[in-house]
């Protein structure tokens, strides 16, 4: 497989929003190739298995996106099984069991886009088990996120504000008439893109009054009518005896709300290196503000010219979860996820416990000297035999399964699998020629070679 430089000449990058959000159609200058197929499967999932990459290449981008968006027949049964696994977890104040099962669900899911979006919302709402202290509530929280991950944002918000895990995480388990919880109201408005400069302290206080009456008692939501402030409130210029649901509607009617969500999703799906112009996002904001349909917004983004342009290609740093799953999924084997939870936490991504109420900062903050070494160490562990991951991932076995029996073809296959051949020719040549200690097609040799491949800077980018 020849080394190529992909996604270089890709058309009118600086063209207007019409072109940017129009569906991508391959042409001579922007062909549908392995690099773009890999890009799509990384962003809309956790990296492609070889058969998925080949299927995508054969079917073209739009048919592949159709498949990513529309659940396969077995998805429902898959999630039912995993929901049952999670429900069987012993009740405790730890979230380790849940995150181990969630990682396994990400590895095995026939609909990786759904898990990718669930992970996005987890970072977005940043509910921390450190405050919740309940496996059961965190299971329920993540299931809510999954249920709405590609659904309706208004429904998602309405569900989230009635989620006991969220209230506990915000310290808002008691919303008394005599002491409304302003941090809760402030966070709710923030999820609608409303912050300092757009709202006053009075808006926050009045919104908090509207949310009174809601309590978390023995891990369940309870509405205590006598604790609800039935008086007239004035929020964002509107006046009335509002409830929390009313405040949500008022907030979502503000222009800032769709803009906020679109901006966050742009960073997640397209690029975290540029600040998109208002003009560029305007069509998406307008459409999203109409019905708050997350699935439609995601679909429009991933089908777009912008998504397949250099403005998006490798313009995100992989999170530790994306990095690890980018090694595991392509090699088509399960790994123990209990140690993986711990290793990801060491790299800065403690699932179930985001560091702040803003979630993970992401981007270049994922990478520093320590975490880079940690990534190399994790790759080494995943590919090692007899370590924390048992027999470890075996690239030689995967290569053989796909008919790559000799050293040269096995190495070339691994380069295509992990980097879609998109590395500088001199790097490719170096990797193909000699990686110290990795000669031959034996299992140890190809494990060593795979470690060298996933240590490349290109592999750190999504």
């Amino acid at each position: 497989m020849p080394a190529q430089q992909k996604v270089e000449t890709t058309g009118p990058v600086e063209a207007g929003p019409c072109w940017a959000w129009a569906p991508y159609e391959p042409d001579d200058e922007r062909p549908w190739d392995l690099a773009r197929a890999g890009h799509l499967l990384r962003r809309a999932g956790f990296g492609g298995r070889w058969d998925r990459l080949q299927e995508a290449l054969a079917d073209g981008p739009q048919a592949t996106i159709d498949r990513l968006l529309q659940p396969a027949a077995e998805v429902e049964a898959f999630h039912r099984t995993y929901d049952a696994y999670e429900a069987a977890l012993p009740r405790s104040n730890s979230v380790e069991g849940l995150t181990a099962w969630w990682l396994r669900r990400m590895i095995e899911s026939p609909q990786p886009l759904l898990e990718k979006m669930t992970l996005f919302w987890h970072g977005y709402f940043a509910t921390r088990n450190r405050a919740v202290q309940s496996t059961e509530l965190m299971i329920g929280h993540v299931q809510r996120l999954r249920a709405h991950a590609l659904g309706n944002y208004a429904d998602l918000l309405a569900d989230v504000v009635h989620d006991p895990a969220v209230l506990l995480a915000l310290g808002a388990q008691e919303n008394r008439r005599a002491r409304p919880s302003e941090p809760f109201a402030e966070q709710l408005l923030a999820w609608c893109g409303l912050g300092p400069g757009q709202i006053s302290r009075r808006d926050v206080h009045e919104a908090a009054r509207a949310l009174t009456g809601w309590f978390v008692l023995r891990h369940e939501m309870r509405f205590i009518e006598r604790e609800h402030d039935t008086g007239v409130k004035r929020v964002l210029g509107h006046e009335g005896p509002f409830t929390g649901d009313d405040v949500l509607q008022i907030a979502l009617a503000q222009q800032a709300a769709p803009r906020w969500v679109v901006g966050r999703l742009y960073r997640w799906l397209i690029s975290e290196t540029d600040e998109p112009s208002e003009e560029l996002l305007a069509p998406l904001v307008e459409d999203f503000g109409r019905d708050y349909n997350i699935g439609d917004l995601v679909e429009r983004m991933v089908r777009s010219n912008r998504f397949f342009s250099p403005a998006a290609y490798r313009q995100r740093v992989k999170s530790p979860v994306e990095f690890a799953l980018g090694i595991i999924r392509p090699l088509e084997r399960l790994v123990p996820t209990v140690p993986l939870v711990e290793h990801l936490a060491l790299l800065g991504q403690e699932l179930g416990d985001p560091p702040t109420s803003q979630g993970w900062a992401g981007g270049r903050y994922w990478i520093n000297r320590a975490t880079l070494l940690g990534r190399h160490r994790l790759a080494e562990e995943l590919l090692a035999q007899g370590g924390a991951y048992g027999e470890g991932l075996d690239p030689a076995a995967a290569a053989r399964r796909h008919g790559r029996e000799d050293e040269s073809s096995a190495r070339a296959w691994l380069l295509a699998l992990f980097l879609q051949d998109d590395v500088a020719p001199e790097v490719r040549e170096h990797l193909m020629r000699a990686v110290h200690g990795a000669n031959g097609t034996s299992s140890p040799a190809l494990r060593h070679f795979a470690r060298a491949v996933v240590a490349q800077p290109e592999f750190q980018l999504a």
């Binding site: 696994y85 012993p90 996820t337 209990v338």
Partner: protein
């Protein structure tokens, strides 16, 4: 016989097999052919005694009936192995059982030295059969070597009149009449041949080995460990230096000190009916001051027999002077002073300001017993999703009348603290009650099931129903009401029978793997799910693995380990009773 000459024994190729034309004279004991000071040696002096039991038709039939055997006999590896056995029998014209007796019936000995040398000496009863077997193995080895393109790795050489062979360029072996000598390298085999020829200092002539052999008596299996040499190995040295973990120190004191001062350890093993007996003796005594709390102070003293309750999984009985142990904490664990002061302050809260050493631990007798048992859940309460065994501690009290109220207060304070903490988390607390069992009134704390949604899927907390009871001079602190009731019955019966301590015994452990298997079976789904995420296996693989583990547990049966001091020696006795159909 194909033979390729090797002219230089110092070359990388080692050797092996030799055949003495006139080997009619009885061979000396194997230990006389082994160099002195091995780290460890194992000698089976009467293999037929063991083979009689192992090859007994009842035993083999019982093994073949086990689910584990039925499972493994269908695996490709086992099929290949069985085919190999059939080929062997056809080629040599003898059944494998007969061949085994003829080839090893005279005894066997294995020894390992600090430099990594290892030698096995096996005495057979049929030189002709041994020779034919060697010819057969040689032909196979040569075929394999040819196939691998390394015909030179099968070689032989003569050394001091003995022909040695190697089949892979590393191991070395020789045949001397009915004796087969196998070494992991040529130098080790040469050392054996030198001893045979010269009769110089050997293992059998060392004082420590002789003392160990005397202590082992007529056991058909004897293990010898040179503790004096072994202690110099870093890992063991560090382990023996003492532990900074108070609990580990409490449990293992008396054992570590003994090994620290011993020159040798003798292990013996024997089979009687379905029981396997293993015993260990050292020449060291735990005389150090630090271990004094683990040593019975007078000849009649020792740990109490274990308590036997229904569904018992394990039991531990210790002779430990807790007061003496804790009073010496500053000397035993100087680096843990801060932590222990904190612990002591906490105990002060529970025990209403009493001094933990002088007013609490001093009230307890040195006999401590622990019982772990399978639970029987009350249908009126329900069954937890994860089933945890019940466990209980039993202490003897010097002044039960005055100390029991103190203990009662401490337990209720602890329960109050638990309830307060749970209340802060919005969780239900424990309800404290006083119940009666026979003539005994005891305290129980339990969780209400008012908020429980499914009685067949209760939370883990419903495994606990802490109980505190006094039975005569004994204080029972149990994790469940059921086990507390059983212990009240057992201790009442024990008092009636005037059960005496086991003289000289400081530690007694008993375990029943069958009961453990029962717990594992009750938690099968949970174990499978845990295994899936811990090992990265599919559900089917995990189910097969856990089923295999349970099957093994079911066949392990019971084990009893007793440790103590007697006649200036530290003794350890292990009895294992496998559970065969």
């Amino acid at each position: 016989m194909f033979r390729k000459s090797v002219f230089t024994l110092s070359a990388a190729l080692p050797l092996v097999l030799l055949r003495l034309a006139g080997a009619a004279d009885p061979l000396p004991p194997a230990a006389e052919w082994l160099p002195p000071e091995p780290i460890v040696s194992i000698e089976v002096s009467d293999p037929n005694r063991l083979l009689d039991r192992l090859l007994d038709p009842h035993t083999t039939a019982a093994i073949q009936e086990t689910a584990a055997y039925q499972h493994y006999r269908k695996t490709p590896q086992m099929m290949e192995f069985l085919n190999g056995i059939r080929l062997f029998e056809a080629s040599l014209g003898v059944s494998w059982e007969t061949a085994l007796r003829k080839l090893v019936g005279g005894g066997a000995m294995v020894a390992v030295w600090p430099n990594g040398d290892a030698v096995a000496i096996i005495d057979g009863e049929d030189a002709d059969l041994l020779g034919r077997l060697h010819e057969m193995a040689l032909a196979i080895a040569q075929g394999e070597a040819e196939k691998a393109g390394q015909p030179g790795r099968v070689a032989s050489a003569d050394y001091r009149g003995v022909t040695g062979w190697t089949f892979n360029g590393e191991e070395a072996h020789a045949i001397l009449g009915t004796r087969f000598v196998l070494a992991n390298r040529a130098e080790a085999l040469r050392a054996v041949i030198d001893l045979k020829a010269e009769g110089s200092a050997n293992l059998a002539s060392t004082a420590h080995y002789r003392a160990a052999a005397e202590a082992a008596g007529s056991s058909p299996v004897m293990g010898y460990v040179d503790l004096a040499t072994l202690r110099h190995l870093t890992a063991l040295h560090n382990a023996l230096e003492g532990t900074s973990e108070p609990l580990a120190s409490l449990l293992f004191s008396g054992i570590l000190e003994s090994i620290r001062t011993s020159n040798w350890l003798a292990l013996t093993a024997d089979l009687h009916e379905s029981l396997l007996y293993v015993a260990a003796v050292t020449d060291g005594e735990p005389v150090e001051e630090a271990a004094a709390f683990a040593l019975p102070k007078s000849p009649g003293e020792g740990a109490m027999p274990n308590l036997d309750v229904p569904g018992r999984i394990a039991a531990l009985s210790l002779y430990r002077d807790l007061h003496g142990f804790y009073a010496a904490k500053d000397d035993l664990f100087p680096e843990r002073t801060s932590g222990l002061i904190f612990f002591e302050n906490m105990m002060g809260i529970f025990f209403s300001g009493r001094d933990f050493t002088e007013e609490v631990l001093a009230e307890l007798k040195p006999q401590v017993r622990l019982v772990v048992a399978e639970q029987v859940y009350d249908p009126a309460v329900g069954t937890p999703r994860v089933q945890v065994p019940a466990f209980a501690l039993v202490f003897g009290m010097h002044r039960p009348e005055s100390f029991m109220p103190v203990a009662e207060g401490a337990v209720q304070t602890a329960l109050g603290l638990v309830n307060f903490t749970r209340g802060q988390q919005g969780l239900a607390g424990l309800i404290i009650d006083r119940l009666e069992h026979g003539d005994t009134r005891f305290t129980v704390a339990y969780f209400s099931t008012v908020d429980a949604k499914d009685p067949d899927d209760l939370d883990t907390q419903f495994n606990f129903r802490p109980a505190l009871a006094r039975v005569g001079e004994f204080l029972v602190l149990s994790s469940t009401e059921g086990l507390a009731r059983d212990l009240i019955d057992v201790l009442t019966a024990e008092a009636a029978e005037a059960v005496e301590p086991l003289p000289g015994v400081h530690s007694l452990m008993e375990a029943d793997a069958t009961a453990l298997a029962s717990i594992a079976r009750a938690n099968f789904d949970q174990l499978v799910l845990n295994n899936m995420v811990e090992q990265g296996t599919s559900r089917e693989e995990s189910e097969a693995g856990i089923t295999g583990l349970i099957t093994i547990l079911e066949h392990l049966g019971r084990a009893r380990l007793e440790m103590g001091s007697q006649d200036g020696q530290t003794r350890l006795m292990l009895d294992i009773e496998p559970n065969l159909p």
